[in-house]
Symmetry: C2
Subunit: 489 residues, 2 copies
Amino acid sequence: MGALDEGHFAGELENGVKLGSSELDLKDESETTLEIEDAVKILLQGLEEDSNREGLKKTPLRVAKALREGTRGYRQKVKDIVQGALFPEAGLDSGVGQAGGVGGLVVVRDLDLFSYCESCLLPFKVQCHVGYVPSGQQVLGLSKLSRVADVFAKRLQDPQRLADEVCSALQNGIKPAGVAVVLECWHIRFPEIGQSCPDLSHQPTKMGMQGWVRTLVYSGSGVLENENGDVWGDFIALLKFRGVNVEKNHNRTSANQCWCPSRSLDVPVSNGHTSTRNCCKVSSKTGPSHPAMVSAVSAIIRSLGEDPSRKELVGTPHRFVQWLRNFKKSTLEIKLNGSNSAKPIMHNENGNASCNHDEIHSELNIPLWSQCEHHLLPFHGVVHIGYFHASGDKLIERSNLESIVHFYGCKLQVQERLTRQIAETVSSVFGVEVIVVVEAHHICMISRGIEKVGSSTATIAVLGRFSTEPAAKAMFLQSVSDGPASGDR
Amino acid sequence: MGALDEGHFAGELENGVKLGSSELDLKDESETTLEIEDAVKILLQGLEEDSNREGLKKTPLRVAKALREGTRGYRQKVKDIVQGALFPEAGLDSGVGQAGGVGGLVVVRDLDLFSYCESCLLPFKVQCHVGYVPSGQQVLGLSKLSRVADVFAKRLQDPQRLADEVCSALQNGIKPAGVAVVLECWHIRFPEIGQSCPDLSHQPTKMGMQGWVRTLVYSGSGVLENENGDVWGDFIALLKFRGVNVEKNHNRTSANQCWCPSRSLDVPVSNGHTSTRNCCKVSSKTGPSHPAMVSAVSAIIRSLGEDPSRKELVGTPHRFVQWLRNFKKSTLEIKLNGSNSAKPIMHNENGNASCNHDEIHSELNIPLWSQCEHHLLPFHGVVHIGYFHASGDKLIERSNLESIVHFYGCKLQVQERLTRQIAETVSSVFGVEVIVVVEAHHICMISRGIEKVGSSTATIAVLGRFSTEPAAKAMFLQSVSDGPASGDR
């Protein structure tokens, strides 16, 4: 599979830091942090936000720290990690075979990592599986396979390059008989920038990993270079025990081409760079190319130790700005289709459970995408809305509730405020007593600092009788439990 | 539920460090590390290991660093974490209800943590769910709920105390209307120290979390203090969405009494301390109380900033030594029941798949418990063994294979060596060509440093025709895939 390229990684192992196309000084932390902070302030201004308001005051510092931490791989040395972690381990005493320090395949599976997409600067989730075949009667401490993978994950990356770099670094760092790396990668897809520009009302309720773009890449070297070889077959068999299916005939090139959802929006522009086109519903949010914001993102990339002129990064500032501007502060009135007019629902649409007990109606699993104002990172999940209605009255159209959720999602937010705003708007627009539950995964909880991969946050807002009648609230919560689970839960 | 005790936690929030019953100076890192290193060397000597052999040379340093890191909560300040992370967030604009910064419940679910059992010093896994009800138009940054929980998890703990401390620290630190904490905790159970002293041959193949001791504890304060209250009901309902079942009528006291499996082995001794009794099969490994080792463990506890005379810690050094001595270096010959005599298997025992294609027999999911020599921490999982046998020949009794796995597990190990040793022994004792696959979860990969909760390691050893005939190896690996999955996979 040709990932092994000693020359390419000699620099890596010598200096420990992979440099871009030009040699970049690694500035000290406080200087870099200040540069990124300044750039983030420009981005907030570009979104017409007041960067002095309480929720945003420390956002530049938080983003700078998180980005520094999330790209610490530029400052880490593979040599330091594997040094002292190679242990002498005898092979078989006698007889024909492979085991121990000689030829007995070692595989570490299901390592959860996060990386940053070099095309759009959003984090992507990686499930990493690494195998190697010991030689020279030496084995590597198991955690080092994870640590080496993380050095390259904590950079601006593309899945295939990440797999190749991890593979080559291990091959050169520990000189085994062979190395294999399989990565399953998931990239968040925003409704705003999705190629097919999905109408949310047609989106199924499964908005978890199912809503993400998935790609599978692999890389091998030495006795694991040939994917038709026996050792590769053993490696894949051991992954299969864990339910990892490595599709045969996987076409790496085509997978890369459509990997980042934002790439599909690129249109060539005259200066040879790429620009992005927009397919958002709220098209008034987009405008010209916002040169100050684009320059600010270039400055961030440079501060991280990367070269913004590296060909894979050329369009990145444009794409990041394009994505960010979906969350531009907006005072647009919500355009509700037929607001205040409701029609009777004849059947359960979109697989949602409706319950008419005590005249409470539940609309479950309305998809949500939003942007955390503390970290400038997405959070996504589902919204459940319940309201009282008089028997025989028309129900609120689900698409109207979806529009409200979408509108309040499309700004810099915190989940608690979002929950309240949805409740207040549903109440005032439709004149109902309402309960709103939001369940969301926060990328900032997953990709940064605490790295709590499986965590999710639930918030409740209650208005009117839902706050005074515990039985009504309990009945609604039960309807959520009984309803179809969303992929986001 | 009475966890709130302002007085008790005033010290915590003032000084940030919870002190034991006496004030202990927090020594600087290098001094502490050296003290722990010296103590670990004494433990290795007590196990009759050569602490200068390659695999163990750096074990004292690794253990010291990992323990320092794993108990960093003693040196962290809750105040530093919540400070600056409280954001003004308006409540509802009008109307009766709760939302936003006033009374709208906020719950963060499924936070994976690790803590250290104060009874035996082994890590235990925690799934943490934290909720609070904002007041004063303030909300806490979501990640802080996890960070505060981690401050207390990274100490020597008991589940109920951990829940109470997290609850009280949040109540006092952010002054909300109420806080609730639910913890699901799992403690590793060793065959050697299990109360029922299970015969491995009667053990089912499900040795994953099913083999662990589970307890569920909770704590509440303010409006969440009363578990019959409405808000508590909302909190539990939101956990139920994630499949968390909080049993009603849960008896905390009895759960605590039998929580740590090593506690059940305690017998009172004359000096008022507790001693431990042993129910191991390899009883020759146990002996007197090993005062040097016990003192070394007391020294470690003191170095971490704890008071070894705190009543919950009094028996801990004994228990840790007791557990460690299960892995004492041993040159005992394996006593195989009827070794070299095999009986025909009339049916698939223990739910294992047997395949006779090409005369390969597979024994799957043999339970494994062992001890990582690099970190002095357990690894556990399953072993799959395949061997060629002539048609009509008797098969090797499963209990004999289990004994071999058990014998090689009961020492300071690395998985690669263990895999080879099992293969060599099966081959030499029974005169067969053999393939061995070991799949294991390493606590050192989960609880320390890299914290890769879901990761697992697979290793292969092949002897004779399994190394020269790829088809034979592939056939065996397929039989593992087709066989019943173990709880450890």
